[in-house]
Symmetry: C2
Subunit: 237 residues, 2 copies
DNA sequence: TGGACTTTGTGAACAAGTGCACAAGTCGGT
DNA sequence: ACCGACTTGTGCACTTGTTCACAAAGTCCA
């Protein structure tokens, strides 16, 4: 059993769900559970069992029929796939409200990421202490990134600065960017970019809100995304 | 021209993009542009023209061939669809790092939402002033929500509290929830839920990072999500 | 050993989303 | 009034994602 995953291509949709399974499995491990069925895992991750099985099957056949999946083993498998076997140093650019909150957010460290540097363009902020770190100058960005081997960056600047910062980051060698600025940022091929836009999320909710008002006769049960039955009308980010 | 959109069902994927077009159109309006082509709009929103046209066509036929779309008119159409013609009052539950940052984030107000109340379970925080608002007690949640007609809530509590808070919110009459707590929250049918999970986003980036390391021969150009050419390898949240 | 029961892994049907390509309008100039 | 340039709206083919449903594989107990 369990042949290597070989050159199996993992679908995009599955990749976005692996972190969910990972989190669910961590919970299991904490409670000392040794094995989980796809059904239980689905429940913990807010998903359905069939999807869980198919997703996991892309990693290889690591379950045991009649029993389920071995929690520790699967954790190892997923963290390997997600590249969480090492801690990734991360730089946050833009130390405003959001940047500071992210810097102090301790959910990162627990999950394979370590905020290693804070950078801001405002000279007044440079030198300021935030948590354990001192804010550094945007001018030193390239140096900071290179010296500490940073490959992942978070942009938390105002919108107008985001594109320029992204350019600097890419030039400095960053390969993955998480953008919180409410604007479109484009990066060259080979660089990954994801965005989180708070206003956008609220607007999407607002749409369904408004829709509900218009009781012009939609199928009442159809919730926003990927909802089923009473379980998890949760929308994938 | 321009028949009413009738009972046209707008696809989920399109809904998540409407806020992007909205933002792009606001930019156009600011610059005084009167009309935009689908191509220009695509560029501003980080999308491709065909998708823009198809998306907009779900709202009705509001473009003019040979010319493009009238900016002001389309803005009105989209804001109507997204329910942004009114300002929605929002409550933030959980006034930690993130909650405070969100409370002070002024990107909301500009886009149809108004943080109207801050609530926390910690008695030490209740009464504290954050920006213009005083933190209120979780015990008063139902009252706060009811009195101010709040229908949208943001959960920014630690993970363990999230599910309980969601329950309270729903009981109080909230119909849409944006969850920042890194845990699965489930809500009854009829309530919309979206989540934003920072660690998850980073882990997804990490996957592609790791993948790049394994130069075992993937098609080099395939970036994370929806990327094309040099333009916008941006991933939809 | 055998038989009842559980749970995986996956083929195949279905559903949703994307992108191409082009007919059908619209405009401005002559 | 006509022509050429431009841009929308959409049918269609294709890709991606989801769900069902069931054989295969394993456990447990007598």
């Amino acid at each position: 059993m369990a042949d290597r995953p070989a050159g199996r291509r993992i679908p995009e949709a599955t990749v976005t769900r692996l972190p969910l399974y990972y989190r669910a499995l961590l919970e299991c491990a904490d409670r000392g559970t040794e094995t989980v069925s796809s059904e239980r895992l689905a429940e913990l991750a807010g998903m359905n069992a069939a999807k869980v099985r198919k997703d996991l099957s892309y990693l290889g056949s690591y379950g045991t029929r009649g029993v389920g999946y071995e929690v520790e083993f699967l954790l190892g498998r997923i963290s390997g796939e997600l590249g969480l076997t090492q801690d990734w140093p991360v730089v946050i650019v833009g130390v405003g409200n959001l940047g500071q909150a992210l810097a102090n957010y301790h959910g990162f460290g627990a999950r394979g990421f370590r905020v290693e540097a804070l950078v801001d363009a405002d000279p007044a902020k440079v030198g300021e202490q935030v948590g354990e770190l001192a804010v550094e100058s945007l001018d030193d960005l390239a140096e900071v990134v290179a010296e500490r081997g940073i490959r992942i960056a978070i942009i938390a600047t105002p919108a107008p600065a985001a594109q320029e910062v992204a350019g600097l980051l890419v030039a400095a060698g960053v390969a993955s960017i998480l953008n919180f600025a409410p604007t479109v940022v484009s990066v060259p091929d080979g660089v990954s970019l994801r965005k989180v836009d708070l206003a956008t999320e609220l607007q999407i909710l607002s749409f369904y809100q408004a829709e509900q008002g218009n009781w012009s006769g939609r199928k009442g049960s159809k919730r926003a995304p990927g909802s089923s039955s009473p379980v998890i009308p949760e929308v994938a980010s």
